[in-house]
């Protein structure tokens, strides 16, 4: 039955989590000494695996929710401009040197950026307006934060700062500590709760906004759940890991042929699918690029972009008369 598929995906995500604990940048297994082994397991691999799970879950779930809410299969978590805001906050922290003050400073600046972007989004798009204004507001905020990010790069004091910002923007799970987990986990988990609560409303929206209201959906409340949930989950995820692209776009699409097209049905599977994808990509990254020169966001984009092209081609074929 369908719940078996949920369990299978949860199992896959847990297996990927354990794999992430077992395989480090220096290959599988742990060093002989018990102290070193404990340090590596709990201070290096565990934070990385937890973050991989949470960030992947947030991106996969937010992608599925936004595709359902906007009724657009090409929507992805970045479409609202919140991750752009988080990235800008982090880049400004590096630019001004605030990031060097404490380990928490950089992700915290990312959270502030995500928060400001969300406020702008709510002000621009309003509470009860259509999804078109929400998308337009998101595009405007993305462009603005993108432009300001470029400005920060442009005005960087030295090449090292530029490369630090660029590396951060590419998205990575390496060198993350439990501090990052403590900063991101509460927001991501709360965001996930909000996003999961949209399931039946998204199903009803299949029939358009008027019919959905007749089926009991409160459009204002739903908008808050979607925007608030995305802001918390995706904002916090981007604040600790940078931009990990295509996960939120690709995961619901991979699952749709297998689980059907009901938008609400895809939420839990997309959460586990996103977690599994990010964790497996990160493990793969450690195997092919143990020194960390290849960044996670680059790998997901490299795999995701061709998939996106295939998606467009398939869509064109489906829409052809």
């Amino acid at each position: 039955m369908t719940h078996g598929k949920d369990l299978a995906l949860a199992g896959l995500a847990i297996a990927a989590f354990l794999l992430s604990l077992a395989i480090g940048a220096d290959g599988a297994g742990l060093p002989g000494s018990a102290d070193a082994a404990r340090t590596i397991l709990f201070e290096v691999r565990l934070p990385r695996a937890i973050l991989g799970f949470l960030v992947g879950a947030a991106l996969g779930l937010a992608g599925a929710v936004l595709q359902g809410y906007l009724r657009n299969p090409l929507a992805e978590p970045g479409i609202l401009g919140i991750s752009g805001g988080a990235a800008l906050g982090a880049v400004i922290a590096i630019h001004t040197g605030i990031a060097g003050v404490a380990a928490a400073a950089l992700p915290f600046a990312g959270l502030v950026g995500a928060g400001i972007a969300t406020l702008l989004l709510v002000m621009l798009a309003g509470a009860g307006s259509s999804s078109v204004t929400l998308i337009l507001a998101g595009v405007a905020i993305s462009s603005l934060s993108g432009a300001l990010t470029s400005l920060a790069l442009n005005l960087a004091a030295n090449p090292f700062a530029v490369s630090e910002m660029l590396y951060w923007l590419m998205g990575s799970l390496s060198d993350r500590s439990l501090v990052h987990v403590w900063i991101a986990a509460p927001a991501i988990l709360l965001g996930i709760v909000f996003l999961l609560s949209t399931a039946t409303a998204l199903d009803a929206l299949t029939l358009g906004e008027d019919a959905a209201q007749n089926l009991g959906v409160d459009p204002g409340r739903l908008r808050w759940q979607v925007v608030g949930g995305t802001a918390l989950a995706v904002g916090a995820a981007t604040a600790v890991t940078g931009a990990i692209s295509f996960v939120g776009l690709v995961v619901p699409h991979v699952l749709r042929p297998w689980l059907g097209n009901e938008p609400g049905r895809l939420l839990v599977p997309s959460l586990f699918g996103g977690a599994a994808l990010v964790l497996l990509a990160d493990v793969g990254l450690r195997l092919i690029s143990p020194l960390g020169e290849l960044r996670l966001g680059v790998l997901t984009a490299l795999v995701g972009a061709p998939f996106f092209l295939w998606l467009v081609l398939r869509l064109r074929r489906d829409l052809a008369p």
């Binding site: 039946t200 009803a204 299949t206 029939l207 008027d210 019919a211 007749n214 089926l215 097209n261 009901e262």
Partner: protein, 263 residues
């Protein structure tokens, strides 16, 4: 089922932006009655339907479900009492016919994650049977013809098992066979003590099947009463600016539009 509450509106006025769309409309949908709302394009028919469905708050006047004001009710409660089928037949994802019909059960769900209960299954099966969808129940709605899709969306509303059914132009774009079948079905639903309200342009069908008709023009009531009282040659010329003839062929009443009046 026991007769549900009467859906009424009194002195209803609505405006979209600064433009007044409805002014001082009285209307009632009584259980057991099949009622039509007619009038020229832009007369405010769809706006009235949306107000009756509780999708828009009235600008002035009120909409009452039984003795309670509609705007005071929770949306899910409205969904259990009033089923509304909008004019546009959008379906955004290629769900199967059965899953679309099952969406009609959402206002009845205790928790959002609950699967179909036995009560839900019965309602879904009844709706599928009433709309004769058994043969296509597993097909994706996006692959169906316009007529099939219209029936699926009505079946969704039937699965709500609401005492009031509102359908905005349910027969638009359907071939004559499906129009006839749909009116027979809707009559049958009304006969089972439900109130059925449709917006329509086919005045012959209104005359033949509907108990009462509300004729709107420029957002105001031009006539409201029994179908034979409202659909008269005089009212049609005032509402639509046409010269029309009422005829009766083999016991079936029909409206023949003869010519557009030029003046």
């Amino acid at each position: 089922m026991t007769p549900g509450p009467t859906l009424t509106c009194r002195a209803l006025s609505m405006s979209l932006g600064r433009r007044s769309v409805l002014s001082g409309v009285d209307f009632a949908a009584v259980p057991g009655e099949f009622v039509a709302i007619a009038g020229p394009n832009g007369a405010g028919k769809s706006t009235l339907m949306r107000a009756l469905a509780g999708l828009r708050d009235p600008g002035a006047g009120n909409v009452m479900l039984g003795d309670r004001e509609l705007r005071a009710l929770d949306r899910r409660e409205i969904g259990r009492h009033i089923a509304y089928v909008p004019q546009d037949r959008v379906v955004h994802w290629p769900l199967s016919v059965e899953r679309i019909v099952a969406l009609g059960r959402l206002p009845h769900r205790v928790t959002s994650a609950a699967a179909d209960s036995p009560r839900d299954r019965i309602a879904i099966e009844n709706a599928i049977a009433t709309m004769e969808l058994a043969g296509i129940r597993h097909r994706p709605v996006t692959e169906l013809s316009g007529g099939e899709r219209a029936r699926v969306l009505l079946a969704r509303a039937l699965a709500q098992e609401a005492p009031v059914l509102l359908a905005d132009e349910p027969t638009a774009g359907l071939d004559p066979e499906h129009v006839l079948r749909l009116f027979e079905t809707l009559s049958g639903i009304a006969a089972r003590d439900r109130a059925v309200v449709v917006v329509l342009h086919d005045l012959s069908m209104a005359l033949r099947y509907c108990h009462r008709v509300l004729l709107l023009k420029d957002g105001a009531t031009l006539a409201w009463g029994s179908a034979t009282d409202v659909i008269t040659e005089d009212n049609l010329s005032r509402a639509y600016g046409i010269r029309a003839k009422l005829v009766c062929i083999d016991g079936v009443p029909a409206v023949l539009p003869m010519a557009a009046l030029t003046s």
